[in-house]
């Protein structure tokens, strides 16, 4: 009797602790986002007021209007971001399927070395790489071009994507393919018609990951595109808002909301695929 009372008390304490931790982390995680939203609806001079105005009053949409009509800035960055990130996504998914499938299904000499080398590339210092890329792209005329940026941003997510794809291909039973091979399907036909439909979740995971990497990257876009009309969102925002005398916090926050909301919605929607992809290898063990 006494024992079970202690037991129950312990459970209650645990429950309370759980909620205390939850609330603390939620405040930490979402206060900055609340502040970003709040500021984005304020006239700029109120973004400077101390004591701060927690709730925007007047509640205005001026900053949003300014952003979506800023054809020399925000609109261009957003357009470049979409074009480049989507191209990176498509390229990464296709290339990662081929490689992931190859590493999963076939064995040949030197394969392991190649796989580990590909994995290792994500640990190289990117700034060192970007220095020689800059020189190389300048000589090849690839600075300020979409292909140059797309190619370089693809390599940032490709190693991890191949690793994820291999994990997904490992889950496809070999018997299905063998049956198709007997039926006279070609090897590439098996890959396209049988394997790809079965690893669709993996493709979504890789697509999300590679899109996010390209959409968020500053270093490569900042270095490899120098013209204002070729910037993506991160370098675009950096150039627009850092180091001015007149801080435009409201505009900055409105722009940030516009950039973040689509990505947040996509991620909430497809999150489970990403979880499956990111943990494909690590949970197994």
């Amino acid at each position: 009797m006494i024992f079970s009372n202690i037991y129950r008390a312990r459970k209650v304490v645990l429950k309370i602790m759980t909620y205390v931790v939850l609330v603390a982390i939620l405040i930490f995680a979402f206060f900055p986002i609340f502040w970003m939203l709040s500021t984005s609806f304020k006239p700029n001079h109120l973004a400077f007021s101390i004591p701060p105005k927690w709730i925007p009053k007047p509640f205005i949409l001026d900053s949003y209007k300014k952003q979506i009509t800023d054809r020399g800035g925000f609109v261009v960055f957003f357009k470049n971001g979409v074009i480049i990130s989507l191209s990176v996504t498509i390229l990464t998914v296709i290339v990662a399927i081929f490689s992931g499938y190859s590493f999963s299904r076939f064995r040949f000499k030197g394969q392991k070395t190649i796989f580990l080398l590909i994995l290792a590339t994500q640990m190289f210092p990117y700034v060192l790489i970007v220095i020689s890329l800059y020189v190389m792209f300048r000589n090849l005329g690839l600075l300020n071009t979409y292909p140059g940026l797309i190619l370089s941003l693809t390599t940032l997510s490709l190693p991890f994507s191949i690793w994820m794809m291999k994990g997904f291909c490992d889950t496809v039973p070999k018997e299905v393919e063998e049956a198709a091979l007997v039926d006279g399907s070609s090897k590439i036909g098996i890959l396209i018609r049988i394997v790809i439909p079965m690893i669709l979740p993996g493709m979504i995971a890789v697509a999300l990951f590679s899109f996010l990497v390209a959409w968020n990257n500053l270093l490569f876009s900042l270095t490899l595109s120098l013209r204002n009309d070729m910037l993506t969102i991160p370098p675009g925002f950096l150039m627009t808002y850092v180091g001015e005398f007149q801080y435009r916090w409201s505009d900055m926050c409105a722009g940030s909301v516009l950039v973040s909301v689509p990505v947040i919605v996509i991620f909430i929607f497809f999150q489970k695929y990403l979880v499956a992809g990111l943990t494909a290898g690590s949970v197994k063990g």
């Binding site: 060192l128 500053l218 979880v275």
Partner: protein
Amino acid sequence: MQDNKTKIKVNASLSNKSFAILLIIPSIIIIGFVIIYPLLNGIILSFREYNLINPSEKKFVFFRNYVFLVKDHIFWEAFKNSIIFTFFSIAGGFTIGLALALVLNEKIIFQRFFRGIFLTPWVIPAVIVSLLFLYMFNAEVGIINYILKKLNIIKDFIPWFGKPKPAMIAVIIGNVWNQFPFYSLMFLATLQSIPDEVKEAAYVDGANAIQSFLHITLPYLKNVILITTTLMVIWNFNNFDIIWTTTLGGPVNATTTFSIYTYRMAFRNFELGYAATIGVVWLIVLLIFSYFYIKVMEKKSDIF
């Protein structure tokens, strides 16, 4: 009919090995062109004196850059800062990330909702995170100073980005905020894979929360903790966006890490040769780490 026959013939002639190699060629071309070749070029560059303003003079100087590097006190400061930045970013992100994963794994209200939204700070671009924290940590109008003063934690407003130590603290807090959901993501997935019977067995045995965490949960998490932490060491050593956007490495090099120092040397001072030298030493540090990373990946995910 004719077509079909040739197709089968082609299939037969294409051995498994050639097909396997054919499939990885696109990856090898892209990675070779954008990573491997530039990397090798970078290593060669580190033995040269190469200034962007005067690119025709590409003198080969052997180890002169390296000798200079050893005596360069900013390099050593950058080394120290890289370690401080990485260590505290991981300590913070890991602790908060693990706590959140454990909480989200319990039966709580709105569990589905919270599991849906917790990734938000992670998907926001680091540049935007930086701008937001630049605003919140602003010395005069920042909300952080206001709250801290209201709570009587500080007497006077702190010029966060104007002083060495506060600048490092502010940058790390922004970074932790950006990264902690990634730890939660990895840990939560693993926690969900712990079979219920195992948890029930501990419950029947009368294990308390701490005991069951240490003896049941932690062993399950061991692999994913190793992989995530190693990955994070590498990512944070490479971190450029947050520091460059908030402080550019200042005030007076207080937040200058390897990535900031290398970038500044290359694209502000235009000394590409010397910048490459810093990069190569940084590469060596990372390679030592990568060795352990690959060992872990190899063992834990039984790749082959």
